[in-house]
């Protein structure tokens, strides 16, 4: 019999509705875990225990009064600190926003609240989502629950770590170039980056708008489908929102891969891919074949340029998105504002941003500058189109594409942070789906030396159902889901 904090969202909801436990007990159990582990993990920037317990009481009252409750009633949910929560500090793990309390809720938060989900806190991340290790956070790195000397991945490292340690039942991450899938892989949890435009970005503090999506990070595939069903769907407040009807993604979860055509692009197994990772992913593909799938090796040649393309576009957009942080209306402000506005802005921005953020702003500014725009930014847009075309071609033949989420297992904290290029290289398998706007899931598929490995399943636009079903089938026929880090 699992303890309350170990339950999945599905189990929690069931037990609360069956009156076996109260929402309050469930939320309390999660907070006990948080208090026990946070010193070692540092998954959270902000906790809202009192508000969460009050909300749980409210739900328990509704249930005892026989009133209807929402789909996520009583579930403890952690939210990446890049997503605006009304009245709750939202820092993007930056000194710049260390005091920023948004006056409004992001659309996804409104949807969660409508379904009686309980926000328990805001999770640590790379500053402004710029990183793959959660080491660039102003509030210190989050540690990998499987080996606390290692990184949890990033940028949604806090969200992944809190799911792995049962410090939350569900978590929201954001994925600009792998920021959900990378930490999901490194912490052995499930993480889905939805199709661009499926989940509203209203209230997501922008790093690179044309690439990013909010997505679920969960203990298993069912929870992932459930959570996606709540947050997905058209939002008129987001001009890039896709006009699709809400859908119950749990309905597509069948333990069956019959007829599923898997493409295995050789570019996903490029130079630098760890052998154990490669082996485990192939094992996973064969596992799916046992359940009726077939595979074929293929090539998407333009993926070779994914990293360069991704970083130029992301940094260019970031240089503009982050221009608003001048300290005038909100955010970090140097004590003495002597001097003209330009001087004050410069001081605020120099002290308010960390080194990686400054690096990306400077590089992005450069890429957009007169004389370099055509050479870098415009060219990147063209290559992006070519990459998208590669995927479109591949999906004429395959239902899904599979490869490793990360080329190598979690590395040591401090190992790569001094070498930005080496760190950027770790995104080689994840960024292409952001460039193409496709849905992709990372699902745990094994371990090497006790460190998690994740498999990435990519599908055509708006075919989250395919990624979920393939991941679900795999999960149902293996026991990686039951493996938990010893720290628990």
């Amino acid at each position: 019999m699992p303890k309350l904090h170990e339950l999945t969202a599905k189990q929690t909801i069931q037990k609360i509705q069956d009156n076996e436990v109260t929402a309050q007990e469930c939320v309390q159990a999660v907070f006990e875990t948080i208090h026990k582990l946070e010193d070692k993990i540092n998954a959270y920037v902000t906790l809202v225990e009192e508000e969460a317990l009050n909300k749980a009481k409210e739900i328990d009252r509704k249930i005892s009064d026989g009133k209807p409750v929402g789909k996520l009633a009583g579930v403890a949910i952690a939210v990446k600190d890049a997503i605006c929560t009304q009245g709750i500090l939202t820092t993007c793990s930056s000194r710049m926003l260390q005091n920023f309390v948004p006056p409004y809720d992001a659309e996804v938060i409104e949807r969660i609240k409508r379904e009686d989900g309980i926000i328990i806190g805001k999770t640590n991340m790379d500053e402004f989502a710029m990183g793959s290790s959660t080491e660039t956070s102003y509030f210190g790195p989050t540690r990998n629950p499987w080996d606390t000397s290692r990184v949890p991945g990033g940028s949604s490292g806090g969200s992944a770590a809190c799911i792995a340690t049962n410090e939350a039942t569900l978590a929201l991450g954001t994925d600009t170039g792998g920021s959900i899938r990378c930490p999901a892989s490194y912490c052995s949890v499930v993480g889905l980056k939805p199709t661009y435009g499926l989940v509203s970005r209203y209230g997501l503090i922008a790093y690179a708008n044309s690439l990013e999506q909010i997505g679920p990070m969960t203990k298993d595939v069912y929870d992932c489908a459930l959570f996606l069903s709540v947050i997905a769907g058209h939002d008129s407040k987001d001009g890039t929102s896709v006009n699709v009807e809400p859908k119950d993604y749990t309905k597509c979860l069948k333990n069956n891969a019959k007829g599923l055509k898997i493409g295995v692009p050789k570019e996903f197994f490029g130079e630098g891919t760890n052998e154990a990772v490669e082996k485990q992913v192939w094992n996973a593909i064969h596992k799916l074949e046992e359940r009726g799938a077939s595979h074929e090796e293929t090539s998407l040649p333009n993926l070779e340029h994914s990293l360069a393309t991704y970083y130029i576009i992301a940094m260019s957009e970031a240089s503009s998105n982050l221009a608003r942080y001048d300290g005038l209306r909100y955010g970090y402000r140097v004590d003495k504002d002597d001097g003209d506005w330009a001087t004050v802005y410069s001081k605020n921005r120099r002290d308010g941003f960390g080194a990686e953020v400054r690096r990306r702003i400077i590089l992005g500014t450069y890429a957009l500058s007169a004389g370099y725009y055509n050479k870098y930014y415009l060219k990147a847009l063209k290559v992006r189109t070519l990459i998208r075309e590669n995927f479109t071609e591949a999906f004429k033949k395959f239902d899904v594409l599979i490869g490793p989420t990360m080329p190598f297992p979690p590395f040591k904290i401090g190992e790569k942070i001094q070498d930005p290029l080496a760190l950027y290289m770790s995104d080689v398998d994840t960024v292409s789906t952001n460039l193409a706007g496709l849905p992709a899931i990372s699902v745990p598929c094994g371990f090497t030396d006790g460190l998690p490995i994740g498999m990435q399943i990519t599908a055509p636009p708006l075919r989250e159902d395919l990624t979920l079903q393939a991941a679900y089938t795999f999960e149902q026929n293996t026991d990686y889901k039951t493996k938990k880090p010893a720290i628990n």
């Binding site: 939202t90 948004p102 992001a106 221009a323 506005w341 330009a342």
Partner: protein
């Protein structure tokens, strides 16, 4: 409603094409910014655009304050309006338009970038090309339009006194995000006067399109490029009202000419029009070309403007000034000049048509409006929409004259009262005792009086018929203009005749 085909009709035979070898020594190009306040909301959020007179920072939301995470969503009606203007300016509407980010730091911009449009780097503004024909004296002139595009207005900076001496800057974001239409001309204007005529015509078009709600302060703003032939171009910003344009341009031209006279060179720079001191001042900004790092706005998808859409807008287009002028000439028999003056201000033209509906003598109505009404407005520095005078009242006044209740002269005295107070003319006449004296009995006594007070003039009048008008004048004076002029004349002549006997 008019047939769209006639919208762009201009008398092309009579148009002077701009020649590249311009003999005038001044070249002016305008960048006009028009607020689309009639949209009711801002360009990318639901905040009210009716910001005039509201408390600072009271009409704001996360979107127009640039709060992290907020996203812009395009107000679809803005495209309708913008396409209308483009069509009225004979511009080519783009099939697909993009928004671009114009990146620069300035305290009036909450995001430190402005969502705008761009005609380079793969950008497509709403419309390109086009022209507007203006009348300068007797010649017609074609002013070329470079482009028409949509963008968001920044916030408003408030200074204590002048911008360069104020100890602080306050920011009001009520204006932030208001839809702006930018209309850029080629440097085809030769004088401040031409610039004013261009703007007047443009304003009348915008008024007729229903885009321009009255003449609110700041709802039409202007930047200007000014150069002397062969000289350096100077940009003058912050010309916040229509009236200031001629002043600002004249000052800047004088400044440049003085520099040239002294053998100094004109610096390529951006200058600021200081309305209170009536000078352009250099803001001492770094004199390098701004690099705005334009790139496509990722939060807004490209907007397709189909032919159907454009046709639809064309059908909805109201009558434009050119067509209205022709109609005034054809349907009401007005002289071209009258028609042009009336249509130059939509409110005047509307007033005229309302009046004519009630009183079918267009020329008579036009005479009163062109003469006394306009003079009165100008003298009091008013525009028609500021006053309470109504077409009904004007008709009543004309009829009172026609019926002989008051004289035309008294009419000229009643009209200013009507303009200022909005009172009915009959009431004004009653209050001031202005009814015409047309009874023989009443006037004969006054004639006697005038004759006895001015004996030498009576002598003159007896000798010279031309001197009679003096006596008539004295009679009018004695009656404060109320005497029936015909009767007055008659009585004075009768009296003179009797003296001759």
């Amino acid at each position: 409603m008019v047939n769209a085909k006639h919208l762009n009709s201009t008398d092309k035979n009579n148009v002077t094409e701009m020649s590249t070898k311009n003999q005038n020594e001044v070249r002016i190009g305008l960048e006009v910014h028009v607020q689309l306040t009639s949209l009711k909301t801002k360009l990318f959020c639901g905040c009210s655009s009716d910001y005039k007179g509201k408390d600072p920072n009271s009409l704001v939301c996360p979107v127009c304050l640039g709060i992290p995470g907020a996203l812009p969503v395009l107000n679809a009606n803005s495209v309708d309006y913008a396409v209308m203007v483009a069509l009225a300016l004979n511009s080519k509407v783009s099939e697909c338009m993009f928004f671009f980010r114009k990146n620069y730091y300035y305290p009036d911009m909450p995001k430190n970038f402005q969502i705008s449009q761009y005609d380079q780097a793969g950008g497509v503004p709403l419309a390109v090309g086009g022209f507007l024909v203006i009348d300068v004296g007797t010649k017609r002139k074609k002013v070329r339009i470079g482009r028409v595009h949509l963008e968001e207005d920044p916030g408003r900076l408030v200074h204590q006194g002048a911008i360069d001496t104020s100890p602080y800057t306050l920011v009001d974001y009520n204006r932030s995000g208001i839809a702006l239409l930018e209309i850029v001309t080629e440097p085809d204007l030769d004088s401040p006067k031409e610039a004013r005529i261009f703007l007047q015509k443009l304003r009348s078009i915008l008024e007729h399109l229903g885009i321009f709600a009255g003449r609110l302060e700041g709802s039409i703003r202007c930047d200007a490029n000014i150069s002397l032939t062969g000289g350096t171009r100077v940009e003058v910003k912050n010309i916040s009202s229509f009236k200031e344009v001629e002043r600002a341009l004249s000052f800047e031209i004088m400044r440049q000419k003085n520099l040239v006279k002294k053998g100094l060179s004109v610096k390529h720079e951006t200058r600021h029009w200081d309305e209170s001191r009536r000078v352009t001042i250099s803001l001492r900004m770094k004199e390098k070309e701004h690099d705005y790092r334009y790139f496509p706005e990722p939060d807004l998808v490209p907007i397709t403007i189909t032919e159907d859409f454009v046709e639809n807008v064309k059908e909805k287009m109201p009558e434009l000034p050119e067509a209205r002028i022709s109609r005034f000439v054809d349907a009401y028999g007005l002289p071209q000049y009258d028609a042009e003056v009336l249509v130059s201000d939509k409110a005047l033209a509307d007033f005229f048509e309302c009046t004519v509906k009630l009183y079918d003598k267009p020329k008579e109505v036009s005479n009163w409006m062109m003469g006394d009404l306009l003079r009165n407005l100008n003298e009091n520095n008013l525009v028609l929409t500021d006053c309470k005078i109504t077409p009904e009242h004007l008709v009543e006044m004309i009829k009172l004259i026609e019926e002989g209740v008051i004289s035309g002269k008294i009419g000229k005295r009643v009209l200013p009262e009507m303009v200022l107070t909005g009172k009915q003319p009959s009431l004004i006449i009653k209050e001031k005792g202005l009814v015409k004296i047309s009874s023989r009995d009443a006037l004969e006594g006054i004639v006697e009086q005038v004759f006895s007070e001015h004996p030498s003039c009576v002598e003159d009048a007896l000798a010279d018929e031309n001197a009679v008008h003096f006596l008539v004048g004295q009679l009018m004076r004695a009656t404060k203009g109320k005497a029936d002029p015909q009767l007055a004349n008659q009585l004075i002549h009768e009296k003179l005749e009797s003296l001759k006997k």
